[in-house]
C-alpha cells in the first residue's frame, strides 16, 4: 500500500504539472490529451468500484458516460446553459438509469449479468441513434460549454484541466473512504464469497445495487466532463466498444485497487495515441496486446508494485 500511495502522489503531482509544462514547450495538445485521459480515469475508477470491489462484471458502463453527456447536451440544446443544473441532472439521471438497469441485472448473475448490462447499453445507444432532435447518428455540436456563473470558465483549457484533476482527486478520496468503510467491506466480502456473506447475515443485493448506482452516478460526472471536453454530443459515447475500453483500463491498471484504473486509463490512451500516430490499423496491435495482458498479466500494472500485507 505504501509504494502505491507514493506512486499515486507522484502521479497526481505529475498530472498537475502538465499544463505549465505544456505551456513552456508550447504543446497545448498535451493539456487536451491528459484532460481526456483523466476523464476516462474517472470513468474507469467508477467501474472498478463495482468490478474490482463488487465483482460485478458490468459490460455496459459506457451507458452512464452517455447519460451524463446527453443530460448536458440536451439541456444545452434547449437553452439551459447553467452548469450546476446540467451536472445535477447528469448525476441524478445516470444514477436513476443505473438503478433501473441494476435492479433488473443484479438479480441475474455471472454471464447473464455481462450480457444484460451489454444489451441495455446497446438499447440506450440505439435510442441515441434514433432521436433526430438531438442529432441522431450525426451527433450535435454544443453551443457552448457548461456555464458556472464566472466561478470557473471551461473554455480556459488549464482551468478545465484543473477542474477535472480536482474531481479525480475528490473521487479517489471518496472511493478510498467507501471501500474501507463498512459498506465497502460488505461489498468485498460478497465478491470474495457470497454464500458466506449471506450466512453471516448480510443481504448482498442492496449493497450491490447501491454500489452500482454510485458507480453510475460517478460515471455520469465523467460523461458531463467528456461532452464539455469534446463540445460535441454523439451516441458513440455509449458504443459498446467504449464499455470494453473502460473495462480494459481497469484490468490493465489492476482491478480492485484505486490507483489501477487511473494508471490503466493513462497507459491505454497514451498507447492508443502512439499507435494511431504510427499506423491507422493500430487496433490490430491493440487487440493482441489486450489478449496478452489478460492471459499473462492479470493483476495489471499496479500488481507489479509491492503491496503491504494482504490489503489491496
Amino acid at each position: 500500500m505504501r509504494a502505491r500511495t507514493i506512486a499515486l502522489a507522484l502521479g497526481l503531482l505529475a498530472l498537475a504539472l502538465v499544463p505549465p509544462l505544456a505551456g513552456v514547450f508550447n504543446q497545448p495538445f498535451y493539456i487536451d490529451l491528459f484532460r481526456r485521459t483523466m476523464i476516462f480515469a474517472i470513468a474507469a475508477l467508477s467501474l472498478d468500484l463495482i468490478l474490482g470491489y463488487g465483482g460485478l462484471v458490468s459490460f455496459g458502463h459506457a451507458a452512464y458516460l452517455g447519460i451524463g453527456a446527453y443530460a448536458v447536451g440536451v439541456l444545452m440544446h434547449h437553452g439551459v446553459t447553467n452548469g450546476f443544473l446540467q451536472w445535477t441532472v447528469a448525476i441524478v439521471g445516470s444514477a436513476a438509469v443505473a438503478l433501473v438497469i441494476g435492479a433488473v441485472s443484479i438479480r441475474a448473475s455471472g454471464v447473464y449479468f455481462i450480457m444484460i448490462t451489454l444489451a441495455f447499453t446497446q438499447m440506450l445507444y440505439y435510442l441515441g441513434l434514433s432521436i433526430e432532435e438531438y442529432g441522431a447518428d450525426d451527433g450535435m455540436r454544443l453551443t457552448t460549454t457548461s456555464q458556472f456563473g464566472g466561478l470557473i470558465d471551461l473554455k480556459n483549457p488549464a482551468a478545465f484541466y484543473y477542474l477535472v484533476l480536482a474531481i479525480l482527486v475528490l473521487f479517489l478520496y471518496v472511493s478510498h473512504r467507501m471501500v474501507n468503510a463498512r459498506f465497502g467491506m460488505v461489498l468485498r466480502a460478497t465478491k470474495a464469497n457470497e454464500p458466506r456473506a449471506r450466512a453471516i447475515g448480510f443481504s448482498p443485493y442492496g449493497y450491490k445495487l447501491t454500489a452500482f448506482v454510485i458507480a453510475g452516478a460517478m460515471c455520469g460526472v465523467a460523461g458531463a466532463l467528456l461532452v464539455n471536453h469534446t463540445e460535441y454530443l454523439t451516441p458513440e459515447f455509449m458504443h459498446w466498444t467504449r464499455s470494453g475500453e473502460i473495462m480494459f483500463m481497469v484490468i490493465l491498471g489492476g482491478m480492485g485497487t484505486l490507483v489501477g484504473p487511473v494508471v490503466g486509463a493513462i497507459v491505454l490512451l497514451l498507447l492508443e495515441d502512439v499507435l494511431s500516430a504510427w499506423t491507422t490499423h493500430w487496433q490490430m496491435i491493440l487487440g493482441p496486446i489486450l489478449l496478452l495482458v489478460v492471459l499473462f498479466a492479470k493483476r495489471g500494472l499496479v500488481g507489479l508494485l509491492p503491496e503491504r500485507g494482504r490489503d489491496g
Binding site: Y126, L129, Q283, M284, G287, V294
Partner: protein, 305 residues
Amino acid sequence: MLLVLEQALNGLQFGVMLFLMAAGLTLVFGIMNMVNLAHGSLYMMGAYFAATFLTHTGNYPLAVLLALVATLLVGVVTEVVALRTLYERDHLDQVLATFGLILFFNELVAVFWGRAALYTSLPTWLGGHLQILGIRYPVYRAVVILVGVLVALLLWVVVTRTRLGMLIRAGATNRTMVAALGVNIRLLYTVVFGFGAALAGLAGLMAGPIYAVQPGMGEQILIQVFVVIVIGGIGSIRGALVGALVVGMVDTLGRAFLKPMLAAVLSPTAAQNAGPALASMLIYLLMAVVLAFRPQGLFPTVRSR
C-alpha cells in the same frame, strides 16, 4: 394483410439467421462455459470469404462451400491459439480476451478488404421472386429460411441421435466425468468450436447479399444474439431456437408496424420520432420483461461440475 405476411416472413428469415449464430454461441457456452464475443467476428469472416470466393470462382455453391471451410479453419485456429487457455478462466477474462480478438479481426478485415462496405451479387437463379400465398417474395430470402430450417433439423439430429451429440450433451452436463471416461475432451472442444464457427460463417455468408458486408458487421448481430440466448436460457439449443424466432419476429414486425400503429394513437410527428426509437429498443425491453419473470431464461439448463 399481405404486408403483414411479407414482414412475418422477413421476421422468420431474420430469426433463422439469429438461430444459426445463437446455436454455436450457446453450445460453446454450454460445453466450455465460455463467453465468446468473437463469435460475431466469425460471422463477419464468413461473409467476407463468401464474397471473395464468389468473385474469384464465379460459382456460388462452390464459393459457399469454400467460405464454410475457411471459416471453420479460422475458428479452429482461433480456438487452438487463443481461446483454449481461457476455458478455465473466469468470465471477465474471457470477455476481455475475446474483445481483443474482435478489435484484431475488424482491423484485419479492414487491412485486406478495406473499410468500405462490400456488396455481393447473387446468381440469377437466386435473384428472382416467388409467389407465396399471393405475395411476391424474394427467392433468396426464401432459400435462407429453408436452409435455416434444414440446419436446425440437422443440428437436432446430430445432438440427439449421434455419438458426437451424446458427447456434447454429456460434456454440457459434467465435463469432468466425460473426461474421466476417456473422452478426449480437448478435441471435443475444438470440434464443437469449429462447428459453431461454421454455423456463424453460414449465417454471415447468407447475410452478405441482404445486409452490407463491412468491418464491425458481426457486433451488431452478436448483441442481438445475446438477447436471444438470454431470453432462451444460456446453454439450451431449444431456448436458442425459440428465442431466435421470437426476437426475429418482434424486431422485424416492430420496425415495420410500430410507427403506423403509434400514428393511430399519437400525433404524426410524435409517432415519427417515437416509432423508430421504440422499435429499436423493443427486443431489449422484451428481454427485461422475460428476465423479470424468468431470471434464467425460458429454458434454463441444469449443470453440475
